[in-house]
Symmetry: C2
Subunit: 140 residues, 2 copies
């Protein structure tokens, strides 16, 4: 039997976060002591590690809820789990692509700034004048 603090130390998930996950339905409400404190079993330790790991990979609470649900049914086909991971991979890649665009834009802005006052600072001018962008980032 683990207290919530034990669970927290073992998984690296903070105590309020554990309670939050319970509220969000990622972990079941555990048994309580007579004094109303949560007491966990090994099972819940494992599930929380699962959740932690999935969060580290950037999966949403929503996606994790689905994965947890799936993991409770080992006999079902795993296409659902695969789809969740694949979809997430795609969104991670999209995010990377977007951030690389930002990186290039920022590099360009920063490197071009040879001015010494705000009046001729390329950083400020680039932000003021969208025309200074290479191929605008958005359609506006």
């Amino acid at each position: 039997m683990y207290s919530i603090g034990d669970l927290s130390k073992k998984t690296g998930v903070k105590i309020p976060t554990i309670r939050y996950y319970e509220q969000m339905g990622l972990i079941a409400a555990p048994d309580r002591t007579e004094g109303n404190q949560r007491r966990y079993e090994r099972r819940e330790l494992e599930r929380l590690s699962f959740i932690r790991h999935a969060r580290d990979l950037g999966l949403s609470i929503e996606a994790i809820r689905d994965l947890v649900e799936l993991s409770q049914h080992p006999e079902k086909p795993c296409t659902g789990a695969d789809a969740i991971a694949t979809t997430h991979l795609a969104s991670v890649r999209a995010k990377i692509a977007q951030l690389k665009k930002l990186e290039h834009e920022l590099e360009r802005i920063v490197s071009h700034c040879a001015g010494h006052t705000v009046g001729d600072c390329y950083v400020i001018r680039a932000l003021s004048d969208h025309g200074l962008c290479e191929g605008s980032m958005d359609e506006v």
Copy 2:
């Protein structure tokens, strides 16, 4: 004179967002009509475009507040603006590096999954068992 709707159309910033920026002190409270509706000048249109552009680059409201402040003082040295952009560039790069790690991990997980049921699904197993990770992402 532009109404808030005009401003919104011209800059692509949604109306509630414009009001939010006013509240946050990014743009000054404009004059009002007798009937209490906001009326903007060209000056504010330009500033909002500036803000939009900076947001597109991922700068925080806080950072933008500083940049806007700086841009009002063309005679000052631009080291502050440069520092904001440089710092942001560093954080974008850090984010990219982190997402690439996630990308690799997810690729590995997805590509290894040859199972057909949840019971032998690599996605689920990889999440359940941290030991399946290549060089763990975190120290837990």
